[in-house]
């Protein structure tokens, strides 16, 4: 896998299809797997891909980079990149997708297959200008998203309110979840707007709830289940569960799964006369 990846990247540089490549390397000093940006074919030999490559590199693509930028993509990364292109963060030509056959990545704390990968139904990136590895060997999910969401759905509204309040209680408003998210791409985040101050700066139940609800609603129909928000949280808050609940609703109501096709449309920009919501003229939802 590593050799094939390096050969392909070298080829991309040599045929001038890319000016830089975002990938993973094992840090020569610390031995940790970290993201790296390389600018020439000579540097391709440091690239790797294995189960330790947990980060979502689509987060690191910037519009002002020297393009086209090659990006090593897992399934979730590719879906996120797809959404960013749909939302005009940068044009499709700005990126060259290097899709790697991902067999799931590990939870760095336990070294087991991470939760998100256990339920991942799309391990190949939809954006695949180049494909590395054996697509047929990526394996199937062993769990469904519903298994994670059902527990919340079974609660009554009061129980849910308590559950989320407790879940968000350790929040310190550091906004690492926002920074880690490839789709938190607002020009100015609502937390940074202070006239009026929509979300108060100090941690307390009201402002914690305000932030986490807004964060989740902004990701309705957009979250690709890469789980980076949860992984980045220094307090270990399981805020991604809320995104999952909404993703489950969006799929159930609108049959929409985020970012699965290259060039997919954004659900919220579509009009469909068969929309299940009655106020759009569709049939009443049962």
């Amino acid at each position: 896998m590593n050799q094939a990846l390096r050969d392909e990247v070298r080829k991309l540089f040599e045929t001038e299809k890319v000016k830089s490549v975002l990938g993973y390397r094992q840090h020569p000093l610390t031995g940790e797997v970290t993201p790296v940006i390389i600018k020439s074919a000579d540097e391709a030999d440091q690239l790797i891909f294995d189960k330790r490559c947990v980060y979502n590199l689509s987060r690191a693509v910037l519009a002002d980079m020297d393009g086209p930028v090659g990006v090593v993509l897992k399934g979730c990364d590719g879906r996120a990149l797809n959404m960013r292109i749909t939302e005009n963060d940068f044009p499709r030509e700005h990126v060259v997708g290097i899709a790697v056959a991902c067999q799931g990545v590990v939870d760095t704390a336990t070294d087991d297959l991470s939760e998100r990968c256990q339920r991942c139904h799309m391990r190949m990136s939809p954006i695949a200008d180049v494909t590395i590895g054996d697509e047929s060997a990526v394996g199937k999910p062993t769990k469904t998203r519903a298994e994670f969401v059902d527990e919340i759905r079974a609660m009554n509204p009061k129980q849910r309110a308590t559950f989320w309040k407790d879940t968000f209680a350790p929040c310190t408003h550091c906004y690492a979840c926002r920074q880690a998210c490839p789709l938190c791409n607002c020009k100015v985040c609502i937390t940074d707007k202070n006239n009026p101050q929509w979300i108060e700066t100090s941690p307390k139940p009201s402002s914690n709830m305000m932030w986490h609800l807004i964060r989740a609603f902004h990701h309705a129909g957009r979250c690709v289940d890469c789980g980076e928000c949860e992984r980045a949280c220094p307090e270990g808050i399981k805020m991604h569960l809320l995104d999952l609940c909404i993703a489950e609703d969006v799929e159930e109501m609108f049959g929409f799964v985020t970012g699965v096709e290259d060039g997919a449309q954004w659900q919220f920009l579509l009009y469909d006369p068969n929309d299940p919501d009655s106020w759009l003229g569709g049939p009443e939802r049962g």
């Binding site: 840090h27 000093l29 610390t30 993201p35 906004y175 700066t201 941690p203 220094p234």
Partner: protein, 335 residues
Amino acid sequence: MADCKKVTEKALLEAIGNTGPIFAPDSDGHWEKFQGSGLPRVGTVRPKRPLRDLFTPPAREIARWKKHLSQPQLEPNLPSTEHGIVWGVRPCDARALKWLDEIFLAPPHVDVHYKARRDNLLLLGLACEPNDTCNCGLFDYGPDDPTEVDLMLHPVDDGFLAVVGSEKGRQFLEGVADAADESAPALRDGPKPTWWTGFPEPAALMDAFEHKVWDELQAGCMNCGACTLYCPTCQCFTIVDEAYKNEVRRLRVIDTCQHEAFTRMAGGHNPRTKFSSRLRQRILHKFSYIPERYDDKIGCTGCGRCIELCALRRNVFADLNEIKRQISEEASCGT
């Protein structure tokens, strides 16, 4: 009086009880007033949150006033006069306080809250078992260094060996019953990376302000800010007003240079819009600006929280090595 005494847990508890409540890290690594009985059980290494939380908390009220009054009456938040004991202090956190003193105790703008806490809390250190993210060895001290705490405690079979770190600590130890003189345990060396080549010169770092290395390092940083918000020596804050039903509270809230809004000015201009410029700020502030301005102090104690909490497994010392290598390579090419 010897600099080291053996004390029993019971006698130590009694002496603590005479001083005041205990502050210690809870099971989540947050510094809280200890509510249980006996001595708090803390982990073997520094807790998640830095010790500065007790001295300059992440959010602290400055003052409050009632709304809808023609002449609002300001009710300032006065410093706490409570005396107490801080339990489980690690040398890295204690050294960080020593640095924060430069900021918060420097006249003419002395932070009265910070000063009250510094004066009223006794730091009881606990010898540490460093993990693989700890780097105290880089700063020439070790996991049981007593110099910046009041007392450094080494757990032994039926109590503690207490090594005196300050005059305050010595006085406290005199109040502990049945303390017997002992010879002090040998100081251990702190861990440091095998590949470490030394700190870059502060002035050379400053000269590298426009270097391409910052852009190269940027791919490994998403500016989440965990490194700075959990750093024991970082102290930047912002001031906000929060409205409640009948009153307004003015708070001093922790802030981080890693976020874009940190440098955004009224009117919208932002001198640090690039990821790499914010990453550079963190490294230059700690390893160049502070040593240049504060007589060779360094804004880092090697506690390693930034390494442990980084979602991208970044290591600031590896970055420093890389920067140093690139600077020196260019210097040798240039001559």
